[in-house]
């Protein structure tokens, strides 16, 4: 298993984008791309919702079921031993991917569960569970949890609920009129009362990189924990929680070319071992009496019950897949695609792209509002020519409301996306207003 953690490269890299021959080779590994839709070849531009799966990931999961299926961490027969080893190898692969220790990697079912896990563990600490070790993380009235106005509901509602359960106050860093996080306002929001900052690495609506270089030091100065929602960065940039100086980072495997039903929570070892568990049950304990239980350290402490074994193995295969492609090259390719997408959209009359301007660092993703046409109708026109794009509020209602819209149309690229596909999508978006009988700037 060769995983060479590359240093954090930001959005732009020096590496060469994939050549067309390389792209063809990559595309050939995604069986679903051979499908067609309404007589057109499938043009999948919804990787931000969920990525398609290369054959090797599908095979890795199936092979486990065919050849090595057994419960892990239970029983002593050979098969159980093999399955345990495969599962723990998968954890090791994720740990090297993040450049962290194995026992700092918790498998969850998705990012949503990861965020709930940390919020509930802190909530349980606030109830006095976990004793003296957990006490420093307990929240009480007057404490503040800070999020941003552009968060996905998964990184908002668990904190709303935690605030409601503990008496803490939830505050947010606003976005500006374009939809970019208002960095200047952050200094007025993050302060002495801040105990937790929960922020996304890359927005799933605007594709913009969050200004972590400003937000994280502010949170650190306040002595707050930093929780990073890395769902939309993990598939596109090298993810290095330690370099980013965050305490917790979560992502979903299914957006990283892995199976559904598997996600990852990275947590600093001291933090994980100090916090009480979220879900409880078997496989996470040392001693159990009728009155109580003692818990294993992380990761077992946070993985009660039979885990997602096949899915973890599939995720490890997906990580090997992207690692072999190389994040520097993925980022270089997607940077070009993103620039092409934004430039193409900027030319179109009656199209508003949500988020900061064309030069702001972002992944190859754009959400647009078509003047005079509801996103649902716009998406239907794209679907008609085989383009799978996402319509709706993308689980970010507050951001859409702030920008004065209820829904938008989002296109998002993956490692198999070509420049030609981006051009086709831009052309299809250009055709939307025409189809609905609208022309000119302000029909």
């Amino acid at each position: 298993m060769t995983l060479s953690p590359a240093p954090y490269a930001g959005g732009v890299t020096e590496a060469a984008p994939f050549s067309s021959a390389e792209l063809e080779h990559i595309r050939a590994q995604f069986p679903i791309l051979r499908r067609d839709l309404h007589g057109h070849p499938l043009l999948y531009l919804d990787s931000a919702a969920t990525a398609q799966k290369p054959s090797r990931v599908i095979e890795a999961e199936a092979t486990f079921y065919r050849e090595a299926n057994a419960a892990v961490h239970r029983g002593a027969h050979t098969l159980a031993g093999e399955a345990t080893e495969l599962y723990e190898d998968a954890r090791g692969t994720v740990a090297r991917f993040l450049a962290v220790n194995d026992d700092e990697v918790i498998f969850t079912s998705n990012a949503t569960e990861g965020l709930n896990l940390i919020a509930y563990a802190i909530g349980n600490a606030s109830l006095g569970r976990g004793g003296a070790a957990a006490a420093p993380y307990a929240l009480r009235e007057g404490d503040e949890i800070v999020v941003t106005e552009l968060e996905h509901h998964a990184n908002l509602i668990p904190w709303q609920e935690l605030a409601a359960r503990t008496g803490a106050t939830l505050r947010f860093i606003p976005v500006d009129d374009s939809g970019a996080i208002d960095v200047d306002a952050a200094t007025g929001v993050i302060g002495a009362r801040t105990r937790i900052l929960a922020v996304s690495h890359v927005s799933n609506v605007t594709g913009a990189h969050s200004p972590l270089e400003t937000l994280v030091p502010l949170a650190r100065a306040a002595g707050a924990l930093v929780v990073l929602d890395a769902c939309q960065s993990a598939p596109h940039l090298p993810l290095r929680p330690r370099e980013l100086d965050v305490d917790v980072a979560v992502f979903s495997g299914h957006k990283l070319y892995g199976p559904t039903g598997i996600g990852v929570l990275y947590g600093r070892a001291e933090l994980l071992n100090a916090l009480p568990p979220f879900l409880t049950g078997g496989s996470m304990i040392t001693t159990v009496t009728m009155e109580g239980a003692e818990y294993l350290p992380a990761p077992q402490r946070f993985e009660p019950g039979t885990p997602r074994i096949a899915q973890a193995i599939g995720l490890a295969e997906a990580i090997r897949f992207v690692d072999e492609l190389g994040f520097d090259r993925i980022a270089a390719t997607e940077h070009q695609l993103g620039a092409r997408l934004l430039a193409g959209l900027a030319e179109l009359p009656g199209i508003r792209v949500l988020g900061a301007g064309i030069d702001a660092p972002r992944v190859a993703l754009a959400s647009v509002v078509v003047d005079g046409v509801h996103a649902h109708d716009a998406g239907q026109v794209l679907d008609n020519v085989g383009i799978a794009a996402r319509v709706g509020h993308h689980c970010a209602q507050p951001l859409h409301r702030r920008l004065g819209v209820t829904a938008s149309l989002r296109v998002s690229a993956g490692v198999h996306t070509t420049a030609d596909e981006i051009d086709q999508a831009v052309a299809a978006i250009a055709g939307v207003r025409h189809f609905f009988g609208l022309t000119g700037e302000n029909a």
Binding site: H38, A375, H376, D377, Q380, N384, H393, H400, A407, F436
Partner: protein, 158 residues
């Protein structure tokens, strides 16, 4: 006609641009329905005859995709046409209305198998095309679900 043209027939485009029955007034008993996936919203009222036995008018307000808005408008038109025919006794009773809602739902969920009866549904039969687009059925159903909710509440006496 391509699938897309079947979905967006001219009648639907027209109703979404100039909706009928749009505008609620204070005192209307309304039902508010949302499609959480895309944020479509319809708030609808059934205005009953003085004796409460017949629908005289359907009024609504809303925002969202053209299918959801056109469907509410077409529903209001259908009710109005029936009411204008009141002398022939055609204004909807609760049972009539429920029958329309049931037929509409059955057709829309049929994945293109059961078209709406043009005799009964008039212009609203243009919504038949929606039934092939599973993701849009909920949009078209919003107004009708609101009406059904009002019927249920009326029957329960609230």
């Amino acid at each position: 006609m391509s699938g897309l043209e079947q979905l967006y027939q001219q009648i639907i485009m027209d109703h979404s641009k100039s909706p009928h029955g749009y505008g609620l007034t204070e005192g209307d008993v309304t039902s508010h329905q949302r499609n959480p996936v895309c944020g479509d919203e319809v708030t609808l009222a059934l205005r009953w005859s003085a004796d409460g036995t017949r629908v005289e008018e359907v009024a609504w307000e809303g925002s969202g995709c053209s299918i959801s808005q056109a469907s509410a408008s077409l529903f209001a038109t259908l009710a109005t046409l029936a009411a204008e025919d009141a002398e022939a006794g055609n204004a909807w009773t609760p049972d009539d209305l429920q029958a329309f809602i049931d037929e509409f739902r059955e057709a829309l969920r049929s994945r293109g198998q059961i078209p709406l009866d043009e005799e009964r549904f008039g212009d609203a039969a243009a919504l038949s095309g929606v039934s092939k687009f599973v993701a849009r059925v909920k949009c078209a159903m919003l107004a009708w679900v609101a009406a059904e909710d009002l019927l249920t509440r009326k029957a329960a006496g609230s």
